[in-house]
C-alpha cells in the first residue's frame, strides 16, 4: 500500500496519491473500483490488491511501454 509513496521518493517522474475513496465516491465510479486496495496507474491501468513492490514496478514499466 505504501509502495506508491516510496516510489515517488525514488523517481521524480512518479507522483503517489493515497485516496480514501469513501470520501470521493465519484472516483470509485470513475475507476470502477470493486475492492481495495487498488492502485490505478496513469488513470487507466488497475492493479488489484496489495502486491509486492517488484510486481508493482513491473506493472508500471509495462503500462509505459517498457
Amino acid at each position: 500500500m505504501r509502495a506508491a509513496h516510496k516510489f515517488a521518493m525514488a523517481n521524480p517522474l512518479i507522483r503517489g496519491d493515497m485516496v480514501e475513496i469513501s470520501e470521493f465516491p465519484h472516483l470509485a465510479v470513475k475507476y470502477a473500483i470493486q475492492g481495495v486496495p487498488q492502485t490505478i496507474i496513469n488513470e487507466t491501468v488497475p492493479l488489484v490488491g496489495a502486491q509486492p513492490e517488484m510486481n508493482i514496478v513491473q506493472e508500471i514499466l509495462k503500462a509505459i511501454g517498457k
Binding site: 500500500m1 505504501r2 509502495a3 506508491a4 509513496h5 516510496k6 516510489f7 515517488a8 521518493m9 525514488a10 523517481n11 521524480p12 517522474l13 512518479i14 507522483r15 503517489g16 496519491d17 493515497m18 485516496v19 480514501e20 475513496i21 469513501s22 470520501e23 470521493f24 472516483l27 470509485a28 475507476y31 473500483i33 481495495v36 486496495p37 487498488q38 492502485t39 490505478i40 496507474i41 496513469n42 488513470e43 513492490e53 517488484m54 514496478v57 513491473q58 508500471i60 514499466l61 503500462a63 509505459i64 517498457k66
Partner: protein, 141 residues
C-alpha cells in the same frame, strides 16, 4: 479532546525523534470546512505538535490557488508531505483508519529523505522515463 490517544502520541513522538530533516504537512481545507476537513486538519495539527521537526501549514483550497497549483491538489481534504524537497506524496481524505499508519510512515521516510527500498526495486524504478501517476484507493476500515 485530542483525536490521537495519549499512548499513541508517546509512541509517535518517539518515532519522530528519528527524523533528520524537517517535514511540513501542507494541509488543504476551506473556510466552510468539508465534512472530513476539520478532522484531517486536527490530525495534522496534532502530529505537528509531537515533534519540533514536523510542521503543519494549513491552506485554503479556494483562497490559496498558488499553493493548490504548486502542490497539484485537486480535491480536499488533502495533505502534501514535504521534506527537504517535494517528493510528490499526497493523501486525499481523512488520514484515519488504514490511512493513518501510511501517513506516519510517509513522514518518517520523508524526514529521513530515504524511502528504504531494496536495490533491485530502485534499479527497476530508475528505468521509468515517463511521468507516472499512482493512485492507491483505500477505505477507512
Amino acid at each position: 479532546m485530542t483525536l490521537i490517544q495519549d499512548a499513541d502520541r508517546k509512541l509517535i513522538a518517539q518515532r519522530f525523534a528519528e527524523l533528520t530533516h524537517d517535514v511540513t504537512l501542507h494541509m488543504f481545507t476551506q473556510e466552510h470546512e468539508c465534512r472530513w476537513c476539520e478532522t484531517t486538519r486536527q490530525i495534522v495539527e496534532e502530529l505537528a505538535g509531537l515533534s519540533p521537526k514536523v510542521r503543519a501549514e494549513i491552506h485554503d483550497f479556494l483562497g490559496d490557488p498558488e499553493a493548490v497549483k504548486q502542490y497539484g491538489i485537486d480535491k480536499i481534504p488533502a495533505i502534501a508531505v514535504v521534506g527537504e524537497q517535494d517528493y510528490r506524496i499526497r493523501f486525499y481524505g481523512v488520514p484515519a483508519g488504514y490511512e493513518f499508519t501510511p501517513l506516519l510512515e510517509a513522514i518518517l521516510d520523508v524526514g529521513r529523505g530515504d524511502p528504504g527500498l531494496p536495490e533491485p526495486v530502485r534499479a527497476e524504478l530508475a528505468k521509468i522515463d515517463k511521468p507516472v501517476h499512482l493512485q492507491v484507493m483505500v477505505t477507512p476500515t
